[in-house]
Symmetry: D2
């Protein structure tokens, strides 16, 4: 941490900053420049509860210092997350998910091969789920998505079948051998959802639902953490840090678009998140072009773009009859559209030297 | 709902839209213009679960129609919220909170008089809380704020004293007669927090934590619902609708700033939310200039601006020694600053013909 | 245009709306629903100066109606741009630019083949420009970029060599046969820049510099119109409409990222703009991953993503020694990085059935 | 400037940074911490063209350093603007504008008294202008606003009367003694607009039209610089710096709202800009609640809020018959609304110890 003093600061105000630092057990090193004085607080050990190794300084302290009349600004030298950072863990994390449909029984997410996760936005009926599951498996999907608990902006919207939906997902797994990914929305549901799911999904509105993150962190279940709809990379990685800090290292990040001023798409996918998160973190990152655009006609191009930019996997909504979907039909691919998209997706993957896990 | 067809649409595509509407039990009325055909779907009755009275149309249907190749766009005629809307409930809602410090034992929020809620961001120690409570009560605050459960962006930050903090708040209520407002973060904590608090606070990150909203809606406890950090007014009122729909009509909205590109303030307070929400809704609205700016030096001007714009109350962070605060010290007023601010605040209120509830 | 009345409106207020419409020469058709009355204003002819064909209604009229106390909202049925819309002009526009380096002497932008435009951010010296031009031409670029007039956020930053820079660009064209693209910043410079450039570039800060757009519209020079840094698609297409309306049909759109809350990238590229603009408009669209990310390490992945999503061309900054660049060195590729990127880019293009114009 | 190295950096990479600094004539001071090495570059003298006094470092250099593989980030210690900063010029700047209607013939903007600027958005007819001017003068406005050159998002919208509008403004000045403020949109119009106007207005879309800023800077005419619609405070002050750097010290800033996700208001006024800009800069700041909200019904509350927060003046649109306005009628106050607003505005000003310049 570096404290930048105002030009008008005097010796007394420098001493005041040093004494505030002292009260937090820290030592400052003033360096008086022609224009400004700066006070370095390097190599500090943090207050209790903060692991010294992550830069060690209580975030509240920085803000407190910044509010002193003699201080111009406080510059942070260390990243506020540690377990999620590539500096701490240089090698890629590969998350393994059991799936009977692949030859060795395990799908690796974050390795050299890409993973296709597809299925309906929401589990509606057994027929809808089984038809979709069969179709996407045939095209190479190895993980089946489907929501049983669904966030709805309106209290009058459809909120999912609940445990009945989970049971249908489990049935589809039995039949087609795919692993199951499904959303969990509240801490008390974590144990039940863990019984049925192979991967827990934490939705964009829950990215900072800290008690849910804690609870998921206390399991060992792989978890897909979607980016909050106006979250920065740092906030997103701090949310991952919550899960990691509780001991669950099986975290997968998912770019699903951020809110911008443009209203013709539901969200604006930030494709640059894919290569940049790979620099900042060792965690796998996948893309959700269905939520990321909200428009069926953009899912194909954004799938190809995600692959070209280096995504580790895709999460795509497919529905046998989107005109009749109870939720998010507008962004669901028709089965035939998914069928047409897969060969193009494989071709783009091949162009950058990658392939898909399929069997 | 009005479906706008593409210029290139033909009779067959109009029939297709009509048949999709028909499958949802709706009737469309095409009107063929020189340039475009539009299909009106007025006075419709919604699917089961949707109260016909709110416009009646499944939100998913609009998106589904919009994704048809022949459809240009779908325009919504009705607002998606009903119980929260002023159209449905033309008179102001006044939320009553018991408080021994006022002569009739009840503080009214949303009436002609303004309400000052003040106290520390976070309950840290008995001494800190009591000192602050005494000071803010002396200046006219009738509601004491203080967090026992605190959201922290970092898993290594301070997360509050939990139930011990609630007990201290109850003690302060006994001593100073103020009502207590404190945050609840997860559904399973609602019963415990209700035991101690007079007003539940739902934080910005939880504005769309639907299960928490449901749970709070099942109590009759007054609830302050903070605006989500990038929420639109419609999303905010839909979140209020969740609570109202469960039967709890004691909802108070709180403007606390939205995220913008400006980083010199923590958030950008949207003061226009105050008069605009009063048009859209009958619910009281208060302001939080501490969270809304993140800077002590801006709390005063934004308090005065909120009052001038018609706020029903204020939520202000005050700390006896902000340099040593465990959380958000930078935005907490010193006790003497709060003391100086109150007379100015009263003067601005008087200038627009209002006063503060004080005794 | 459809005027949605408030639930509380009465016959008198409906008549008032009809009379306001009447004063603008328009006829409204009220349709009284169970819940609401709406007034359709279809097939209207606009006020003088507005081509009837674009929906025909003065934009100010919609806002005026919306401000009437009895009106809830005004819904627009037509798009506000016409010449730029695909509805008006269903076939792709292909912009032709003369370039000696290709066999038929003309580079087509917006056709089946992609176009690589590369070169330094800013023309600094003859040696810098010639070295870069030679290198990028060798790898397949057919258009040379280079700024002679540069916008700088600070008045103390480098603002380009001016006409001397244009002369160097012309010299590079003579030597390597590439067409030249360079920025023009103000209307009075348009004639001079037209003397040297084959394509005019209008920068993000000037997307709504209407007098510049008019002036460029009065030439027949191909013009690349960059997206404003927080512009919507509609605003961007309206800016293109300015140029088109003056008679210059050679407009090329360029996605270069929008501002978001994320500060680790200079901008957030909106890759979905590529397929969506292709639906809304017949104009070619290219991508600028250098400005779009501000980081050299992201230019490669975002180039590949743009190609996968269907871009018509790329605008890439390359510098022989970026550590010494006077401007934007951080986002410039090294020559060897550009050399490595081209084969990957071609491979991704081939994967979606496209190739690059090269000779 | 402080260069933060990656944890993985070695001695060689530190030497590389030092040599890049050396090539720019700068000296770095490495300081090797437990966790990280940082290199301080304090008190540096900038490259030619950059005044050493403003921190002295080429902005491009920071980005260049940041792109080196061994560098984690570059932290800036100095502000990039100087002439606009309060550190450089601690006293408030007061801009004087001649106006026959006040007793000493001069209106001071930025002093203790507030200034009301009002009038139509756009000059339409002599009658419209004179009626409005008379009415607003009667209520205490001392400066008359009115656009002769108007930016319009659509090329088919009304763009103002041009010089004929300026002549009408001059006539209104002769008749009512108010000073005139009007917009200038392009450098070549500056001399003509200066002939008629007492204050030049630079609109939000032109905040970064650098050649216009330069040209206005070469006059001595007072200039109101509106905030760009998604500009940060720093970008805004850098735009002011352009004008100041050319020698024109009569710059007035104007908060007019920024773009946010909320679409029910045209913009979101950032009232906190008023007190914060007063800390960062010595320049006067005024508020435009008409553009800032786009809604007549919000202009009153936002006027009062601006005054309470400490604005130096107001810019308000008033129209004798807004339903028939050619532009922005929806945000124009009726004359009687303006008449009602003024006493409330004075009352709020009085509550914070200020008054209005009126005679």
């Amino acid at each position: 941490m570096i404290v930048v003093m105002k030009q008008s600061c005097n010796e007394e105000s420098i001493q005041h900053v040093l004494s505030v630092l002292g009260r937090h057990g820290l030592t400052g090193h003033p360096s008086i420049g022609v224009e400004r004085t700066v006070i370095g607080v390097l190599g500090a050990v943090g207050p209790s509860g903060t692991p010294g190794g992550i830069g060690g300084i209580n975030p509240a302290l920085g803000e407190t210092l910044e509010s002193l009349p003699c201080v111009d600004s406080v510059l942070r030298v260390s990243k506020p997350y540690k377990l999620a950072s590539r500096e701490f863990h240089p090698e890629n994390t590969v998350v393994e998910v059991p799936a009977a449909c692949v030859s060795d029984g395990v799908v690796a997410i974050g390795g050299s091969a890409l993973v296709m996760m597809a299925g309906p936005c929401t589990v509606e009926t057994e027929k809808q789920l089984m038809t979709t599951a069969e179709a996407v498996r045939k095209e190479g999907a190895v993980i089946l998505r489907g929501g049983a608990f669904k966030p709805s902006t309106s209290p009058y919207g459809f909120r999912g079948l609940g445990e009945a939906g989970l049971k249908l997902l489990a049935k589809a797994r039995d039949e087609f051998g795919m692993a199951i990914i499904t959303e969990v929305m509240t801490p008390s549901d974590v144990p039940m959802v863990c019984e049925y799911a192979d991967i827990l999904q934490i939705g964009t509105r829950n990215m900072q639902n800290y008690m849910l993150l804690d609870e998921v962190g206390r399991t060992q279940k792989p978890a897909v953490l979607k980016r909050g709809m106006s979250a920065t990379f740092e906030e997103w990685l701090l949310a991952a840090e919550y899960i990691l800090a509780q001991g669950n290292r099986n975290v997968i990040l998912c770019e699903r678009g951020v809110r911008t001023f443009e209203k013709q798409t539901r969200n604006t996918m930030d494709i640059s998140a894919i290569p940049l998160i790979k620099q900042l973190s060792h965690l796998p990152i996948i893309s959700d072009p269905s939520q990321g655009t909200g428009r069926r006609d953009l899912v194909g191009p954004m799938t190809l773009a995600s692959v070209a930019a280096g995504t580790d996997g895709l999460l795509i909504e497919v529905h046998p009859n989107p005109d009749e979907a109870l939720k998010d039909g507008a962004q669901s691919l028709l089965i035939e559209q998914f069928r047409d998209l897969m060969p193009q997706t494989r071709a783009v993957a091949a162009a950058i030297g990658r392939s898909f896990v399929t069997e």
